[in-house]
């Protein structure tokens, strides 16, 4: 154990929690089936040739025109709900990961940059970020996506703008602590350029807390995207994410056809809970106060 690499040690420690391993497996599995959706889905839900209106709004277990058994029922257009969920998962995951990546890049640059530069700029940047953090992300994302209009890129911009501040605060906290350490002083006394010090020396040491924030924020981005799409200000109808599937089923819920909204929601929750459980485990691992 002593001579194992830090990554291997981290992994071994991670595996001590069975719940976390199962959650990680679920996340990997869901990413897998989302990527492979066209191959594993029983039907291409957006090929109109496959759809028959006589199959619309059928209960789970119904055997439809094409000879499929619709295990989770069909929606208002006669689409197989399981296939629609797999395709929706793809869009939801894509939005969450891409928005999370943008928020990460922007927030970490600002946070570490502020800690590195210091002085008035640091105070100013962090003030603005604190101010933004006081506002709920959902309100910001809601207003931004309303102002920018509907579309994938617009929504990614809105989500990233609503979330980068969390990364910035975490990165700033970690980088300020690193900034005062001897090794940074040592590197700074060499003629290396500033960006290299930040990128090769400070940034890697700030990673552990940032990974925790990243898992939580990807889960949040997925939930936020679903909420916005549900409210009708998120993705356009041509990009049916899980949130939109839920929104589409809403009107049928009052007549007892619960499955159109219910099952996409279950898929969404499994995904978010699994990501959060993985994040919880990593948080415990990088928290020095809980170290044995």
């Amino acid at each position: 154990m002593k001579d194992a690499s830090p990554a291997a040690r981290f992994w071994a420690e991670f595996c001590e929690s069975k719940v976390a391993v199962v959650a990680l497996a679920v996340v990997v599995l869901m990413i897998g089936i989302a990527v492979l959706a066209p191959l594993v889905a029983p039907q291409d839900p957006y090929d109109l040739a496959n759809l028959a209106l006589s199959d619309a709004r059928r209960a789970p277990g119904f055997v439809g025109e094409g000879g499929y058994t619709h295990w989770l029922g069909t929606d208002a257009q006669g689409r197989d709900l399981l296939s629609a969920i797999l395709y929706g998962l793809r869009i939801s995951l894509e939005m969450g990961l891409v928005a999370g990546a943008f928020a990460f890049a922007l927030g970490v640059t600002l946070g570490i940059g502020a800690a590195y530069i210091g002085g008035r700029w640091e105070a100013f940047i962090m003030r603005v970020i604190d101010l933004q953090l006081a506002f709920p992300a959902i309100l910001l994302a809601l207003v931004l996506s309303a102002l920018l209009g509907q579309g994938k890129l617009q929504l990614i911009a809105a989500l990233a703008a609503a979330q980068y501040a969390y990364f910035a605060r975490a990165a700033h906290g970690a980088a300020s602590a690193e900034r005062g350490k001897d090794y940074v002083e040592a590197v700074l006394s060499t003629p290396l350029p500033g960006w290299r010090v930040v990128w090769r020396h400070i940034f890697p040491n700030c990673l552990p807390p940032l990974i925790v924030v990243a898992t939580v924020q990807v889960a949040n981005a997925i939930a936020l995207e679903a909420t916005l799409s549900f409210l009708g200000v998120g993705l356009p109808v041509t990009e049916p994410s899980l949130g939109m599937l839920i929104a589409n089923g809403f009107q049928y819920m009052l007549s007892g056809r619960y499955w159109i909204s219910f099952y996409p929601g279950i898929a969404l929750i499994i995904l978010i809970v699994a990501i959060n459980l993985v994040g919880d485990r990593i948080r415990d691992q990088v928290n020095p106060r809980l170290k044995r």
Partner: protein
């Protein structure tokens, strides 16, 4: 202490000013309000006339100061859609949202804090573990979906509670309230429950973390050594130690609950300002959007200020005008 309050008040005013500029630029400068106001087939003359009437031919900073001056007189303009002053529109919808939000946040605190203290007091007991697992669920499950499931279960399947609206209201101080009638309470229960679940999870986790730390503190050790009963220790000492973070969260969450009410109000057709903002976003009713954002900013900043004052009351070190 008075100096501390004055400094905080000044800071709050500056932040409010910055927010008003951001909101103004955000809503009026992004996109073109002229296209919303004027049809494409109007004559050029009428077009210029309308632009001049709304002051849209002025430079941006001048437009902003005009806007600011009117806002200070409580004038947010007229809603493009409803045609009535925005202030009246918002004030008529505000009580419904306040009622819902207060019910949700108070409910979350009344259930979450005791549950959290218990889970922190006996962290390894079975109920404590169940509480923590449920709280992760409460964090993860999107509010809108829970709302749908609540409607499905209690309104459609069991038919115990209504699925939307405010129900019968009673007028008090000239404002209609739902919580004073049985029918209104029935209508309030599901949306309030829906809105409170996320806060409930948050308060529980916070109270638990605080209690776990407080139980290890010297205060508790000495209180026990003094022969106080466990109940007294929890009530008199632990609760006081965890009060500061809880008050912070209670205040800040109240404000963010106002924002989250957007989702709940849409699902349960609750006629509050959350439903209003969604409708006005969809119809591009800019004056309503601006007024809503200014109101929420104001509530946020006011609450931040009040939370700070509450600290002074709760923490004797701050009362003496010392640290900070």
């Amino acid at each position: 202490m008075l100096g501390h309050v004055a400094v905080r008040l000044a800071q709050s005013l500056v932040v409010m000013l910055v927010m008003s500029a951001l909101v103004f630029v955000g809503v009026y400068a992004i996109g073109n309000p002229i296209d919303v106001l004027i049809g494409p087939d109007v004559s050029q003359e009428l077009r210029l006339q309308t632009i001049a009437r709304y002051g849209l031919d002025q430079p941006l900073w001048q437009q902003y100061f005009t806007f600011l001056g009117r806002v200070l007189h409580g004038d947010f303009g007229r809603s493009f859609v409803f045609g009535i002053p925005v202030m009246d529109l918002i004030l008529s919808r505000l009580p419904a949202t306040l009622e819902l939000t207060l019910a949700a946040v108070c409910g979350a605190a009344l259930v979450g804090i005791p549950a959290g203290i218990y889970a922190g007091y006996r962290p390894n007991s079975l109920p404590a573990r169940a509480i923590m697992t449920l709280s992760i669920l409460g964090f993860s499950v999107p509010t809108f979906w829970i709302g749908l499931v609540l409607i499905m279960a209690f309104a459609v399947q069991l038919q115990w509670l209504p699925a939307g609206g405010r129900g019968e209201t009673v007028s008090l101080f000239g404002v209609p309230w739902s919580f004073l009638t049985l029918d209104g309470l029935n209508h309030l229960l599901l949306p309030a429950l829906n809105l409170s679940l996320f806060k409930l999870a948050l308060m529980t986790r916070l109270a638990r973390a605080g209690t776990r730390e407080a139980m290890l503190s010297d205060t508790v050790k000495f209180a026990r050594a003094a022969g106080l009963s466990e109940w007294t220790v929890l009530r008199r000492h632990v609760l006081r130690l965890i009060a500061i973070p809880l008050v912070t969260v209670f205040g800040l969450e109240f404000a963010s609950t106002l924002a989250f009410a957007v989702v709940t109000e849409t699902i349960f057709s609750w006629p509050g300002i959350g439903k209003l903002i969604i409708d006005s976003i969809q119809s591009l009713d800019r004056p309503v959007m601006v007024a809503y954002l200014m109101l929420v900013s104001f509530v946020f900043i006011a609450i931040n200020f009040l939370v700070d004052l509450a600290y002074v009351g709760l923490d004797p070190r701050l009362r003496k005008g010392g640290a900070r």
